[in-house]
Amino acid sequence: MRIPKRRMRLFDATSVRQYSPSFSLALTAPLILLLIFSFLYPVGRLLWMSVATPDGFTAEHYLRVWNQPLYLNILWRTIQLAFVVTVASFLLAYPVAYAMTLVKNRWAAVMTACVLIPLWTSVLVRSYSWIVLLQRNGVINNLLRDSGVITDPLHMLYTEGSVMIAMTHSLLPFMILPIYSALNTIPLELAKAARNLGAGPIQAFFRVTLPLSLPGVYAGSLMTFILALGFYITPALVGGPQTLMMATLIGQQTTELLNWPFAAALSGVLLAATLLLVAIFRKTLSLNKGVQFG
């Protein structure tokens, strides 16, 4: 708990207040300009496109999303899948992150590398590797058939399950790293103190280690959830026509049907849904924090 404080003081010492406002603005200007031209402007154009017609404004595209159950179903499925992926990532990531804090020097480096290398590998490569694994004549089917477990190949690729597995795999590092960094700041003495005061290993974990690592869990979950909501490449490659997600639907509308205003409206809906869910998430968390951390 002492280290963050010291770090804060470090920040105070080189506070913005030491520079004049105009100089601060000059320093941040390149980033602000970049954000305006590569983020705010395109998003604005997109939203504009979803409502503008040559003669004025229309809500036609939004009404279409609202009135056709298909599109709302896809939105709902996307949210569900993002949620499932987040939960699955959490369940897989926590033990890994926890183990990373326990192992000693060399193994810690090995584990960190194992977590980071997939992160540096293109999502495209990782998605194709799932195709290799899951397809009809893929590694898994061949193994199962050769060992006599099955006679007919399983249908695994292009299902919601394959999308979930591949997305969880892709997003896992985003969950592991924040949890790891949160766990790493918890002094080892605290778990020892809990044990000394009469808590068994499981109680010590649930009463001390887990609550103290929750900020990392929240950060990881939020990041994973947001990324999962807008995930495009993996669902496009390992998901079939039955497993359209919002992102793949938008892709279809822009590249195949060339219905740009409707694609823009879908994007607007996804953006609004994401912002809403994030707001709800943060609200719940801040309430939680109020109780736990004062």
Binding site: M1, E189, A194, R195, R207, F293
Partner: protein
Amino acid sequence: MKITAGRSGTGSLGRQVEIIRISKFYGNMRAVDAVSLDVAPGEFLSLLGPSGSGKTTLLMMVAGFETASQGMISVGTRDLTYVAPNERGIGMVFQKYALFPHMTVAQNIAFPLKMRKFSSDDIGRKVQEALALVRLEEYGERMPSQLSGGQQQRIAVARAIVFEPPVLLMDEPLGALDKKLREQLQIEIKQLQQRLGITVLYVTHDQEEALTMSDRVAVMNDGRLEQIGTPVELYERPGSAFVADFIGKMNFIDGEWVGSGGAAGIVRVKDCGSLAVHGNPRGSDTVLAARQPVRIAIRPEQLRIAKQGQGGEHVLNGVIQNAIFVGSYRVFLVRLGDESVVHVQLPSGQASQNLAEGENVELSCEPDAIHLFPARAAG
């Protein structure tokens, strides 16, 4: 200083702690090497030693965070050697307090009671009593981060004793505090311990702290127990050169044994004279041969300074290199003939004012106050 009572009756919590030939090996390294200790019920015993001497490892074995490679640890009549830490029922105060940052002060103190499934009424009452005991009644609803270091330390003590453990372990609990606060808390902890009658095993590398607080001090070096005794015994009769050096200030002078001169023996120091000494080297019964090299140790306050020609029969000749005024006493650095420098401490005033830097003087000492040790091993 007054400690407000929160508890009826005093002084019967403590149990005996028995440590029998306990060892801890890490590969070839012997962190703790066959240490035996017997702590009486209600005794305050310090484990004192430099870092790496094995004192913390020993404490961790009593707490259950390290498993002994050999030997046995028992509290009362219960063998604890292989019992899980949470089932030992021993209180512990950690070096950095280890308060749970996500719980209030009251929740922290309630933690061991909750683990023991006390009723919520009992928990509330006992927490309040424990807070009163450390004089922080008003702080129950604060978070640990809102307290000063000294207050956090007191809360850690309250949490460690609230479930009335028979033994309290303390791992350099005052190391992170400044000197003044440390001295105040030393007295507070000592008084609390006496009031509760709890057995305390206290780890420190600060010899002054160990001498101030302890009934007995166990000095550790290199995983072994060097000497155990009351603070006065350790100070006045150190059993080895290591203890003599570690406890208090000590001058070491190399010399050679010349033989008995009446009741005392004589040790000659090269190029500067000789001193009359009592007895054999500590830790051995060997009769010294003539011209055998020995080491003598003398406390700075046991040496006397006399002007040249006035010191008596057995004196060491030297030159006052520095005279330092330290308030209630003066320290003189006296350079002997063999270029070694000896510290002499005299009360301020009277005779010590007349001694100037650069003056030739004679050092003498009562034979009883000189500790004789075997010579340093060559190399």
